[in-house]
């Protein structure tokens, strides 16, 4: 099972990295979504994989449960990554509406350092 999860994480990361290197904002948003899956799975799996041992107490003792800590960390990470995606979507939508395209890179005809909005 470990190899299944590890290869999934590898594929998601590779796909995510490839997409964040594209030139358009939308591809980058997709890439970041893939990367969030990969990172969440990665953190989750760092506690070790276990089957049928959810951390819901049902008796005495502390044996027979999976590690709850990575789960708690990932749970908030999932919600926060949603918030981040939402902000990114809004920023790229704003950029698209202001500029007319959703390219990420600033080109030479637009001054990168001055921070002035386009004259056009």
């Amino acid at each position: 099972m470990e190899i299944v999860i590890a290869s999934s994480i590898a594929t998601l990361t590779a796909g995510g990295v490839y997409l964040i290197l594209r030139l358009r904002a939308f591809a980058v948003i997709l890439g970041l979504a893939l990367l969030s899956y990969a990172v969440n799975l990665f953190i989750f799996s760092s506690g070790g994989l276990t089957v049928d041992e959810p951390p819901i107490l049902h008796g005495d003792g502390i044996a027979g449960y999976t590690d709850p800590l990575p789960q708690a960390l990932v749970l908030t990470a999932i919600v926060i990554s949603f918030g981040m995606t939402a902000v990114l979507v809004m920023v790229s939508l704003g950029a698209y509406l202001e500029r007319g395209n959703d390219k990420l890179d600033i080109h030479e005809d637009e001054d990168a350092l001055s921070g002035e909005p386009d004259a056009q």
Binding site: I5, L21, G48, G83, L97, N101
Partner: protein, 953 residues
């Protein structure tokens, strides 16, 4: 040692607190403003004098307020003889300057601002001289650089003022940075950041290998602050400041900070060859060079500025000699220089104020026009020249006496000759100051007819000149303070005997030579000045400006090279570098043995895996077709949720699947206003390059996670498992970790989420009112719309679903503490239920039924969570300590109530509010884009037809 209570802290803080007052009091008039500005230093001085008996009996007053004692961070202050002397000077001269400035500043100058800056600066200086902790001292040190920047640049309309302020800040700030390094080394050697500890460890420090780096770095700080060669150039340029500032900064305070530091560190750093050759040589050279330049300056303040540099060299030289007698002489000269130099600066200010010029060539003959000023300035200048019966004579004698028997690199004449030359030049510019300003014929072409100012303006310099003469005539009055300060500097018990007449010593002959030589230079002034003008001299400002410009150009080239606006390039570099670093770390080895067996792979997992891999590949291949890519992303999210279910993480599965739903909705909404396809822009090379980087990153992360999963690691989770029920009262350990053990984290996270929601709302506001709003209004969406945007079936079914979905949400929330669920998931579920209404029945219809603002929901959530945490304070427990108990109500079964549930309610409300605010903001675009908005729940309402038929019939 005496415990000073908090009095020392109060002394250091008074000017900072007082700095708030003048800005307000200026509304009550200039006199009120000046009076109130004088209150804090006067109070601080009074508190200081309360401690005088302790200090004079050889005691040390200490105050310590621990902050992070483990790291050596504490706000500790101490007051010994040296600190007492400096604090008296800072506060005493501060008061005189406040009085003088009241009359000096014109009605157009913002006086409240001036006093605020002055008090800020005063507080910073006091901090330096009272700090016990060197880290604290460094903070105050930097504060003096910053506040002196404000003071020097006070006349913002003058370009010289702005440039001078910038130069002073750059030079002293850079030195301060170097000094931080030196101080940290010193603290490291000793193992303590407390000055009182460091001062005990002189031997240890001098024998350390790190002595030289520490010495050089600390001296860089001291030399830049005290304007020693080659950093002296900023001081004359700082003369663009108003004269009260110059009088304060360049006589008693700012430039003396470097001297103070050298004196403070004297027991630890001095006494080595390196100290002698660096400090004494630099001091001596600075003294002679600056005195030489000073003679030929025509601007009164500039002359005084170079004279100050020269006298700072004088002090540095004495401290550099490393003998107790020289250090005592230095302490005495600190007092002496303060008295005559502050008086001279103020006199120069008076002349400038009355005659409207400071140019010596346009002055002369003021003796009869300004008799009071003439007396004050002349006596002060005679002291500067070192004429007997003034206090300047006493210290010059002591200095020459020390110089007379100093051997420099085996040469016993070099230092005495240079010192005599310095004294000679010093006498020369002092004589020129008197002769060319006050003597000579009365002219009729002054820019303004000068006369003596009012008492308020000359009172301060007059008082200082009285001190000059009293100490000069009765040197023994200064003995107690010199003794106690010199004892503090040297660490030995010093008992000086100050006298005017020491007999026919070599120093007396050197002094005589200096005075006669000075008169000769004055007599030959015209030919000498012609010769000086013909000499080629490096202009410091040009060199400095060139240096700054070339550094700025270099920085710009680097920035433009690295930061060229290509986001994809930064990301590629970042990922590539990370992979490379990971590879290097892996090469380093050190991996533990594999000790965890592989789990079997059930067939369902294999199917899920295939779907996930295929999904990821399709997203990459299909990413240009945006809608399809979104649908496939949904599949991947589903598979990830399934993996969580299988691998014992029900909470994560629930959260993932609800977040997935909301994310897809959000992206769909956004995509409505964005292009539906991505054009092909990158060539084959680029795609291959990115592919290689991506595969490298993927392989690295995959291998890393595999390595992780095959090893058992120590975990702190056993504690959570053991205490979840006992301490938190919940069976669901993940939920208890979130709302109890790590409640602080969760609290922070919901705040972040709330902020994200508000950012989106704010962005939308800004967008809709800007050019994007116009573009939106001109967009044509008619092609995209379906004929029936709000289908009957969907409207009816979502409305039926709403109560059911709400109940599910409430159920998930309530059981969250013991079973999978909780505030995060419940918030998302209810958000989805509400979003369905927006989707089915349209924005306007749903919004009209929305009673609670989403902003308010976020706010309530954060406040409820915070108040729950604070409730623990009532029982004297730390923030977010939770409690729980069981309640029995007939006829309901016994149930549990935990305070953590209130916290979870806060989480729930914040998540709900933030998610709804985000999607609501996006939906508002539609309205703005001029789409037709329905106020009815459905586009085609079948009941309309029934109604119509009835009406017709």
């Amino acid at each position: 040692m005496n415990d000073g209570g908090n009095l020392l802290l109060i002394i250091a803080l008074l000017p900072f607190i007082g700095a708030l007052i003048p800005g307000v009091m200026i509304r009550a008039g200039r006199n009120a403003c000046a009076t109130f500005a004088a209150v804090p230093p006067a109070l601080a001085l009074a508190i200081l004098l309360v401690h005088a008996p302790t200090v004079f009996s050889g005691g040390v007053v200490q105050t310590q307020i621990d902050w992070l004692p483990q790291l050596g961070l504490s706000a500790s202050f101490f007051l010994d003889g040296l600190g007492f002397l400096f604090a008296c000077m800072i506060l005493g001269v501060g008061l005189l300057i406040i009085l003088y400035a009241r009359f000096y500043l014109s009605g157009e100058d913002p006086m409240g601002q001036f006093y605020t800056y002055l008090l800020l600066f005063q507080g910073a200086m006091l901090g330096i001289v009272l700090s016990d902790n060197i880290l604290l001292l460094l903070i105050f040190w930097e504060l003096t650089s910053l506040s002196s920047f404000l003071l020097i640049g006070y006349w913002k309309h003058l370009p010289e003022g702005r440039q001078g302020a910038r130069m002073a800040l750059a030079v002293t700030g850079a030195g301060g940075l170097a000094m931080i390094g030196g101080m940290l080394i010193l603290g490291n050697i000793v193992g303590s950041y407390n000055l009182t500890d460091i001062l005990q460890q002189g031997e240890l420090i001098r024998s350390s290998d790190w002595y030289m780096p520490a010495l050089i770095l600390i001296l860089l700080g001291a030399f830049t602050k005290s304007a020693q060669f080659p950093f002296h150039f900023w001081l004359p340029h700082a003369m663009a400041a108003p004269t009260p500032v110059s009088a304060y900064l360049h006589s008693a305070t700012m430039v003396k900070a470097g001297i103070f530091l050298m004196a403070r560190m004297w027991p630890v750093l001095s006494g080595t060859e390196a100290w002698f050759y660096i400090v004494a040589s630099v001091g001596l050279f600075t003294m002679v060079m600056a005195a030489c330049i000073a003679i030929f300056r025509n601007d009164l303040k500039s002359l005084l500025a170079f004279s100050t540099v020269s006298h700072l060299g004088f002090l540095t030289f004495l401290l550099g000699l490393g003998t107790e007698a020289a250090a005592t002489a230095a302490v005495f000269h600190i007092i002496v220089h303060l008295t005559f130099k502050a008086a001279l600066f103020m006199s120069a200010g008076i002349i400038d104020h009355e005659a409207h010029t400071r140019d010596i060539r346009r002055l002369g003959g003021l003796r009869t026009l300004m008799p009071v000023t003439f007396v004050i300035a002349s006596l002060a200048a005679l002291s500067m020249a070192g004429i007997p019966l003034t206090n300047g004579f006493l210290t010059k004698e002591l200095m020459l006496e020390e110089a007379a028997h100093t051997v420099w690199a085996g040469n016993q004449y070099l230092v005495p000759i240079a010192a005599t030359l310095g004294a000679l030049l010093s006498a020369a510019y002092s004589f020129r100051f008197i002769a060319h300003v006050f003597f000579g014929p009365v002219r009729d072409d002054y820019p303004h007819k000068p006369h003596d100012p009012g008492f308020g303006m000359w009172a301060s310099p007059a008082l200082l000149v009285v001190l000059v003469m009293v100490i000069g005539l009765f040197p023994f009055v200064a003995e107690p303070i010199v003794d106690v300060a010199a004892s503090a500097v040297t660490g030995a018990s010093i008992h000086t005997h100050l006298a005017i007449w020491h007999g026919l010593t070599p120093a007396l002959y050197m002094s005589l030579t200096a005075v006669v030589g000075g008169l000769i230079v004055l007599a030959l002034y015209s030919p000498l000045s012609r010769g000086w003008a013909a000499l080629p001299r490096p202009e410091a400002k040009v060199i400095f400006d060139g240096l700054v410009e070339s550094i700025a150009a270099l920085a710009r080239r680097i920035t433009e090279g690295l930061h060229n606006g290509a986001m994809t390039r930064y990301l590629a570099i970042f990922v590539f570098a990370t992979v490379l670093l990971g590879f290097a770390a892996w090469q380093g080895g050190g991996m533990a043995q594999v000790n965890r067996p592989n789990l079997p792979i059930p067939p369902m997992a294999a199917v899920g895996w295939l779907l996930l891999i295929a999904g990821t590949l399709s997203v990459v291949l299909l990413h240009r077709q945006r809608f399809r890519a979104l649908v496939v992303i949904g599949i991947i999210g589903l598979m990830v949720s399934a993996a969580f279910v299988y691998l014992s993480a029900p909470d994560l599965a629930l959260t993932q699947i609800s977040v997935e739903t909301v994310t897809i909705m959000l992206l769909l909404l956004a995509l409505h206003y964005m292009p539906k396809d991505t054009p092909i822009e990158s060539g084959m090379f680029r795609r291959v390059r990115d592919g290689v980087i991506a595969i490298g990153a993927g392989a690295g992360v995959g291998l890393l996670s595999y390595a992780f999963m095959r090893r058992d690691i120590d975990t702190i989770s056993d504690y959570f498992l053991a205490n979840s029920y006992k301490g938190g009262g919940g069976h669901n350990v993940v939920n208890v970790v979130l709302v109890d053990f790590r409640g602080y984290d969760t609290y922070g996270e919901i705040i972040v989420l709330g902020i994200a929601g508000l950012i989106i709302f704010a962005l939308m506001e800004a967008l809709l009112s800007g050019p994007a709003g116009k573009r939106l209004r001109n967009m044509d969406f008619s092609d995209d719309l379906s004929r029936d945007r709000h289908p009957l079936m969907m409207v009816v079914s979502t409305r039926l679903m709403l109560p059911i979905a709400t109940m599910v949400g409430v159920y998930i929330f309530l059981r969250g503490h013991n079973e999978p669920g909780g505030g995060f998931v419940a918030g998302l579920v209810i958000a989805i239920a509400l979003l369905m209404q927006y989707m089915a029945s349209g924005f306007a219809w749903t919004q009209a039924r929305q009673r609670i603002e989403y902003h308010a929901m976020i706010g309530f959530g954060v406040v409820i969570a915070g108040l729950t945490g604070c409730a623990a304070f009532l029982w004297g427990l730390p923030f977010l300590t939770s409690t729980f108990g069981y309640v029995h109500w007939d006829p309901i079964e016994e149930f549990e109530l935990a305070s953590a549930m209130a916290f979870d309610l806060g989480v729930f409300l914040t998540v709900l509010g933030a998610v709804m605010l985000m999607l609501y903001s996006l939906s508002r675009i539609a309205r703005h884009a001029g789409e037709t908005v329905n106020t009815e729940p459905m586009d085609y309402d079948p009941s309309d037809r029934v109604r119509q038929t009835r009406e017709e019939s």
